[in-house]
Amino acid sequence: MTDNPSTPTPVIPPSQNRRSFLQLLTASSVTVGGVVVACPFLNSLSSQNTTLEQNFVDIDISSLKAGQQITVTWQGHPVFILNRPTEALQALQDASLITRLRDPDSKELQQPSYTQNWHRSIRPETVVLIGSCTHLGCVPTLKLGAKLGSFYNCACHGSRFDLAGRVYKSMPAPYNLPIPPYTYLKPNIIRIGENPKGQNFDFTQIKQI
């Protein structure tokens, strides 16, 4: 489209300026128009109105025995509810385990403040975790073994988490498993998606899902 450089520069008649201006004007209005037209198209791809979707789930955990885990869905995420046996709870405090963890004290914002403790839960035995590996989002599998032999293993790239969802060092996953806001409505009924009274944890603020 460029003119051949070897040809002598022609004298530009006055109308040439006018034409260049009109061309510029046309091109810019076409560009602006194109961008405006693109808006509704891209807008249609944005997430839909979710007011009708449930923001919380209530789970009855009365039949959950020690060592058992159930998986429920909350806002499209798998949520693990695990009833940890006493020896598994003891293992969480084991000094040799803690040295092998990346963030043993849950310093990164991956959980509500009311679960920022050694067992990462409200009640020590029952833990609620988002079952989505912080590496690339696969669902880790629970492996139960004796003492330190219990852990979550991610099948995709081998990331490993302890039974409080804390990630081991030198694993591809950078952070501990996230914990959703939850509260006990009754002694045996957990509501996922709602904070206990007086708490205002915002799940969208966590480091990484």
Partner: protein
Amino acid sequence: MTQDPEPHLNQVSSKKHTFSEWIEKRFPVFSTFRREYIQFPMPRNLNIWWAFGAVLCVTLLLMLATGIFLALSYTPSAEEAFASIEMIERRVPSGWLLRSLHMAGSNLFLVFLYLHLFRGLYYGSYKNPRELVWLSGLLLMLMVMMTAFAGYILPWGQMSYWAANVVIQAISSIPFIGEGLAHWLMGGSSPSDLTLHRYFVLHFAMAFFIIAVVFIHVICVHVVKSNNPKGIEPKTKEETLPFYPYYVAKDGVVIVGAIILLVLLAFFFPDLLTNSENYTPANPLETPANIAPEWYFLPFYGILQLIPYKFLGLLLSVGSIMVLFAVPWLDRSPIKSANYRPLYRIALFLLVLSFVMLGIVGKYHSHTGLIWLGRLALFYYYAHFLLILPFSARFELKRTLPTSLLDEKGHK
């Protein structure tokens, strides 16, 4: 602008290797674009009728863009199709806009297509050497009609369902192969989930086949060059104008007009061209009281009703399009433009009138008084192509054709 387009291409080495030159040597897109869309010689006397090709291209792009984005939110199953359309209308952000643009666009597509086709008939754009332009254009029209029909089924409302049922049942009247063909097109004995899947894929895939045939159509035009209102070929350079900026600007004005028409339809009259019955979910147990196709199929629907024999009706209905394919060979007159053919001009006016008449029959079929008027129109429709076109040239008064596209004063 009229210099040797690419003098540097012949040089062994050029000092300045720009990126565009690198591409150009391997894939001459820049020189081709310049030759076909900048310098391309167009007859200098084209009127507004020659803008509809460009308008149709823009409409096709609009249909493609809105269609792809609608397909992202649409579910082609008998269970969920209707609900997913409602979701597009109510819950998908800007979904209502995309859908009304797609619906208004489909109607305007057919409006422009009929105008484009009429232009070809009036100015004899199908005559030597433009036969392939005409044939590829008719193929495009058939493909667009098929796509429009398939698209109409997708909302899975009452009209969608019964349109699919009636049309496919009509196909079953073809002797020998009809039953099998209808069963194959339907995926069963009545419209079902399978039917919907098939027509969704047909609708979607056809859009891309149409683009391919548009390329063939445009290449054909660029090889033989555009016809013009005088119907004589330009012989000198003075009789032509470069495509840019003259016809880019002229087409641009008509395209803007078409866009205004489109948004008027989409924003202010979204219900004008849709049937409210199609906002009732498909019900295989109840046929709507007033079943009529979209306006652009009314003449063909009218023909189906005029003939008391099922297969003959189908034959004449489909034949009314098929006869157009033979027009370059049915028309024996060497004069292209109807401006110089007084008899043909009247005949063509009557053809348009009978086409509209057939459409009216399609719309108000219960009115028996229309039947004989309709049959007269149908007779004329075929007589125009099979009798008037081949024989009118003999009776047409000798008219002297202009010798140049420049007007009498010799204006440049």
